[in-house]
Symmetry: C2
Subunit: 390 residues, 2 copies
């Protein structure tokens, strides 16, 4: 390898130690993780002084826990059971220090933690990969919110071809959960890739996908707001004035108006969907119920529909059954509810489905395995998006 270096890189490498000139890092010879042909995954770590190293991941096999063993020379390794095709997050625990895999350049923040990531091949996870198909554009855009008295950031996916046509497109509003922000559906949810691949395979209609930030007291994702790095990422219910106060739901038409006036949308109910995971499912329920002429498609993914702590004197939350009945009379093309059967919210979602049915809303139910996890929300989106705008 040394022979392949140019004179500049050699000079830079020589200078690096003394002057921190960040031009050169030697490629790691140790690869980790290695996705094996049989679906198992091997982790490697050089930690000569460590006494105990464990991999903790979000897969189901062995509870996502994978103790590493040392070769006595400082190399620690572990191999998982065969894992279903998916995107996975993991961290190492090295003598009690929890951190990313030093050999893996790919990582992703979830709430306040940074996780290493990898993909295993499979029919579902193939949609999470970049393929040589036409790609949509992803933009970080600011809309003005009168309700928040601030410019607030949202992410917009416009499908391939948007820039080269005069066509108007339907819009899916896709909402994050209590631990997320406007970036979560793109990073952990693979939303742009799922849409690129569904559309390229003609399994979904070309559509615009709008991913707002639902945490009204902030202006953007952690690190991108005016609090900059002083912001400590945390769940929305831990942020004062952010949770179940109706502000986001009531102000939602601001976002729809911004999108309809700045993008070539089909600005009618039949061409609008709203869906969200966990807290975003709670939001989708109330937004669509409060604005029954706005959305023809509703998707609740592992929705956080615990009403025990909801203040029903807040206008957005009053008279839910009455609003649902009005929504049923106004008509809904698809009311989709998906939940992992091991999700702690599963019983509450079943109760909600009964309540929706009683109000006259016909619901389409999707059971998926496992719990309150991104593996489910990606799958829910992959199932929901092809049903839209038919």
């Amino acid at each position: 390898m040394r022979q392949a270096l140019t004179s500049i890189a050699v000079a830079a490498a020589a200078l690096l130690a003394s002057a921190q000139q960040n031009v050169f890092q030697a490629p790691e010879s140790l690869q980790s993780p290695v996705v094996n042909a049989d679906g198992t995954v091997t982790f490697n770590l050089y930690a000569p002084a460590a006494s105990e190293v464990v991999v903790n991941g979000d897969w189901e096999a062995d509870g996502g826990r994978c103790p590493m063993t040392s070769d006595g020379q400082g190399l620690w390794t572990a191999t998982t059971a065969a894992l279903p095709g998916d995107m996975y997050t993991y961290r190492f625990s090295i003598d009690g220090i929890t951190t990313i895999d030093p050999a893996n350049p790919y990582c992703c923040r979830d709430v306040a933690s940074v996780f290493s990531i990898f993909f295993t091949p499979g029919e579902q996870s193939d949609y999470y990969q970049v393929h040589p198909v036409p790609h949509g554009t992803v933009s970080a855009v600011y809309y003005h919110s009168d309700a928040a008295n601030a410019d607030r950031r949202l992410m917009v996916y416009t499908p391939a071809g948007y820039e080269d046509s005069d066509r108007a497109y339907p819009v899916l509003y896709l909402l994050h959960g209590s631990g997320g922000d406007e970036t979560a559906w793109l990073s952990l949810g693979c939303a742009a890739r799922i849409l690129d691949n569904l559309i390229a395979r003609q399994q979904a209609e070309p559509m615009i996908v709008v991913m707002p930030n639902s945490v009204m007291p902030t202006t953007a994702a952690a690190g991108e707001s005016t609090d900059n790095l002083d912001f400590r990422p945390r769940l929305t219910n831990q942020i004062p004035g952010a949770y179940k106060n109706g502000l986001f739901e009531t102000a939602f038409p601001e976002i729809v108006t911004y999108i309809d006036t700045h993008y070539r949308t089909r600005a009618d109910k039949h061409s609008r969907a709203v869906a969200g995971l966990s807290m975003g499912g709670f939001h989708s329920l109330f937004i669509s119920a409060n604005y029954p002429e706005m959305f023809d498609y509703v998707g609740l993914f592992s929705a956080g529909v615990d009403f025990s702590n909801v203040d029903t004197t807040i206008p957005a939350y009053t008279d839910l059954d009455t609003k649902l009945a009005a929504q049923a009379r106004a008509g809904v093309a698809l009311y989709f509810i998906a939940c992992g059967t091991a999700d702690f919210l599963y019983p509450l979602n079943r109760q909600l489905a009964t309540r929706l049915t009683a109000a006259g809303l016909h619901t389409t139910w999707l059971d998926t395995p496992r719990g309150h996890l991104w593996t489910n929300w990606r799958r829910h989106l992959m199932t929901f998006a092809p049903l839209l705008f038919k």
Copy 2:
């Protein structure tokens, strides 16, 4: 804090250990880093089993090396000297394992390594912060390259107000270095924030900034190309067919044509600038010399102008002095060269300036302290952008 949790969060926390349901992470009580009022920075790490912990960063004081000391109870701390206002990257070395700060949710990839980041306050770094000013839009866009026979990704910054006017804007093409990709100027370079703040303070003209990917055999940044996570990030000179072969320079008009046909640009030489850091400076030199009617503004930031390994039979690289003389005759409004005085490329840039002068090109020179570092490239951009399109 426990009293503030909702029933959902409590249920989720209870389930987390057994079911990996990623809904809840307790906030870390340990904060690291802490930027102190006197400009010093304190790092904290709980590592009860560690024998030696060192912070390695890209600041100048103490060579960026900061050994941590233990309180005997497992808490390791270190405090730097007072640091100038800037963005800094760092990692911990814990008994020989190099990794990010577990308590810091903010990190950034540079080539194949992930670094924790922080900002210290100062006149310059104030431009790297998100302020309550109008924000531009940042988009990840694909253009078709006939030369590469692929759709390739570039990042486009459109200034605040672009979407709400019919105005046409000038364009700065801003090129990454050998370790970078189309995302580097945004993440490590803070380019969108610098432009937002310069424009809001009326110190720079509103402009579009286009950040292409210069690594022609790839389609996009590491992890965003069709190689997905199989791609091992490395320097461009380590990627076959990517380095100093003239492909990127010769094909550059593809990008200009894409931008001029898809954005409201002022599509003339007087409204175009090209600039880049390190390898991107080399690119800017040759692109502007080969297309003398395309750019009125040229910026070389710590340019990688080592010609010893350049094949001058490649059309993009033949007859440089003749091309420079033609460029001088065609006219250049600004030929800007900036370099750190401790940069290993400083002498080569001084030589180039002499050569440019001999060709009849008047150059504007900026010396900055220190070496081949992002601190300089951010400062070079902050100095260059206000000089454009006057």
